[in-house]
């Protein structure tokens, strides 16, 4: 529960999900001391929508294993290892899985909805009977563009482990490499740092940037990936919140499977990364 988690929680509560469990093991920093992060935030989550049952629990995700009790799970700022592990549990149990993070100006979201069914509203294709000599005007008059029909569709998602294990070596990967959002590779670097250092890079730790400068593809990224920037949390939290609602309501095509936001360029990309769909 940090900036992004709070944004997502706010959006879900406003959207009116039936129940929401917030889970965190940390104390509030900088805010009112004493409570867990889940019970803080502007304003108290319960005030946002009294119809939503909000529970706050202390503990680490996956440790006490509350996961299978919920139809959807959304993680923020977890290590790569816990994300992969919890995603595996969810994938096996048919639980919709989301994760996301914000690093300075950069943010991402990942979704594994397993085998996901949804409906999409499509305009009805007007059948124009052939052979009738109609002027274009009359043809248009008969068409009723406001008519829509609901179309059932399906999408297959892959687990996070596979999405992060895409191989980029070899010639066939070269064109894909050029087209893929650089944020995907930045994510790899940052998750690696988190695993090795046990924390996120910070601007005051001078050694952070020096040590990693060989790994980071573009040096300018270095100055834009510290801490969680509130407006970036708002953007990623908005997209992530909407995706959770979409998955719950099974309406409209979900973003399959990554969303990357680059706050420096103001660009948001949806990428499908992982093994080719069967």
């Amino acid at each position: 529960m940090r900036g992004l988690g709070a944004e997502v929680a706010k959006n879900l509560i406003l959207a009116g999900v039936r129940g929401l469990t917030l889970l965190d093991h940390q104390q509030v920093r900088g805010g009112t001391p004493g409570g867990t992060v889940g019970t803080q935030g502007p304003p108290e989550p319960v005030c946002l929508n009294p119809m939503v049952e909000v529970k706050a629990r202390r503990g680490r995700g996956g440790q006490t294993d509350p996961v299978p009790q919920c139809p959807q799970v959304c993680l923020t700022c977890c290590s790569k290892e816990s994300m992969v592990r919890i995603n595996q549990i969810c994938h096996k149990n048919g639980i919709k899985f989301f994760t996301g993070d914000v690093f300075g100006y950069h943010g991402y979201m990942f979704a594994d909805l397993g085998q996901h069914e949804f409906v999409e509203e499509k305009p009805k294709v007007a059948k124009v009977s052939a052979g009738v000599e109609d002027g274009p005007e009359a043809k248009r008059a008969r068409l009723e563009p406001a008519e829509t029909t609901m179309v059932k569709k399906q999408l297959q998602f892959c687990p996070l482990r596979e999405a992060l294990a895409v191989r980029w070596r070899g010639e066939e990967a070269a064109p894909a490499l050029r087209r893929t959002a650089p944020d995907y590779f930045l994510l790899h670097v940052l998750l690696q740092f988190r695993t090795e250092a046990g924390r996120d890079p910070c601007p005051r730790g001078d050694s952070d940037s020096d040590n990693d400068s060989d790994n980071v593809p573009v040096s300018v990224l270095l100055h834009s990936c510290f801490s969680e920037m509130a407006p970036v949390c708002a953007v990623v939290g908005g997209v992530l919140g909407q995706e959770v609602v979409k998955a719950l309501s099974q309406r409209d095509p979900p973003h399959n499977n990554f969303f990357f936001f680059d706050g420096v360029r103001g660009q948001g990309m949806v990428e499908r990364l992982g093994p080719p769909p069967k």
Partner: protein, 674 residues
Amino acid sequence: MAAALSGPLRPELAQAVSQARVLVVGAGGIGCELLKNLVLTGFSNIYVIDLDTIDVSNLNRQFLFQKKHVGRSKSQVAKESVLQFCPEANIIAYHDSIMNPDYNVEFFRQFTLVMNALDNRAARNHVNRMCLAADIPLIESGTAGYLGQVTVIKKGVTECYECQPKPTQKTFPGCTIRNTPSEPIHCIVWAKYLFNQLFGEEDADQEVSPDRADPEAAWEPAEAEARALASNEDGEIKRVSTKEWAKSTGYDPVKLFTKLFKDDIRYLLTMDKLWRKRKPPVPLDWAEVQKQEQNIPDQQNESSAVLKDQQVLNVRSYADLFSKSVKTLSLHLAEKADGEALIWDKDDPSAMDFVTAAANLRMHVFGMNMKSRFDIKSMAGNIIPAIATTNAVIAGLIVLEGLKILSGKIDQCRTIFLNKQPNPRKKLLVPCALDPPNPNCYVCASKPEVTVKLNTHKVTVLTLQDKILKEKFAMVAPDVQIEDGKGTILISSEEGETEANNHRKLSDFGIRNGSRLQADDFLQDYTLLINLLHSEDLEKDVEFEVVGDTPERIGPKPSEPASRNISNGSDDGAQPSTSTAPEQEDVVIVDSEDEGTSSNAADAESRSRKRKLEKGCGCGGAKRSRAEQEQDDLMIVESEDEGAASSLGEEESRSHKRKLEEKGCECVGAKSVC
């Protein structure tokens, strides 16, 4: 939301942020999210202004407000809520309209940055001018359903809000409404007109009976006269006002039904030219309809009250609903003082029942599928649902653009569009370079000038003031003098000085073809030179025309960027929202360019937008392949087929088309489908 306050920003930027003084105009859907983002980013001097009070319908997305706040000032409560989680912020709240003259150019000059979180075009125009006059950068934004947009306006550097003509709300051609409706929206508009004709203010432009002057019917005059005579003899269609006639029947629902859905329709059928290429309407007979079974409403549980609105009933049920609502409304009218009329309101159940019933009966007569009360309400009330997450994303983007401005990197600012689905280049959020100012803009050019065509013998001074200067050119308190060498004052913003001129015609003041007027708005620090062209051949019901500004007919050349329809979310024409119509907050009325387009519901919006873009690109009505160029990287050409459902969803193609509004749009070959 415990994002670190100092961590992510470079020290110079962090300092600029904490010292910046920002004005947030609007504390609604975007405004609430924006205020939260601002304090969490480290802004500490924030001024917020909103004239609205909190309505219960705001609570699902304006998260700074709770039920206990309903009825209180939005800006004040927003300030209190923000201070609860960020007590050190210095927030000043005004419960007022930004168009109040107290907020003059001096007021605007004190800010580093102004951010709009508005829901109406009148206020957007005004803030645009104030920021131009004060030379303060402005971040403009808007949302409509899943779509949103953020852009930056800086005097002399970028386009201003008014550089590209914004389409005005389209009214449908009278003969489509009266004679040949082809879409449900035409019937809904007709039903709303009918309401006004029967119970409301009568308006000659809202006639509902068959139009004998329909040029398409193209009768011989003699024949027309004979028909008119014949119909008079029938005693059915007389030239008395609909209201008078209805009154004389005592608002008898059966007589009204018979006139509207049988006799008028029969009359239309006699205009046989209309039906050569159209499916002719089928008159309805009250007695026949009464033989039908009534719909049995679902009475399974209480919650069906909500679902009931979403059911489409049968003709009999709508005939009964028509009858019932006519009775109720005529009673309401009788309770009113003499001469007073009812006002149509989508939230008045009987008014909504009436429009639902009348529109559906007409749809049935014209062979269209009927619609649920719910659908009709959303079309009649121009409702596009506001979505909290869209506002959240847009508010985040506003702050990011603000940070670029504060770093002195306005060249890196972009117009950013939020799509519902990623475009073919996988972009959900699409940044586009800002356009330079339009040298011919009638607002931000160094000497703004415009040419208006009107009939000087017909247009009064009051029309010039209200419809041209205030409505069209968004002035608040104009002063006008004639450039006749004497500087004759035509309109003064001081009360009591020129009211005597109001009802006189322009020609009475020696204004004729080629006359020039100088219009000043002292508050906006804005002077507009108006060249008048006298014209006697304007279309019927058109009082004036701004030359070069008729987006319905003349699209920009393909090389120019198409007129940008800022999805200013919430552009509800020109009127500022008030607390009496709160659910229209964040609502869009998108005009339609084309006779066959509805202007209202969300899906209709996409269509009208598409059509506009097609026109804007000079390849009217055609689907096409196109290339787009964005900044440095080159792009993909997507070709679309009429039924390109598989790879290119409706949303994608829409977003793709929306790209055309942005800079660098280019049509590469048009493939016509009709």
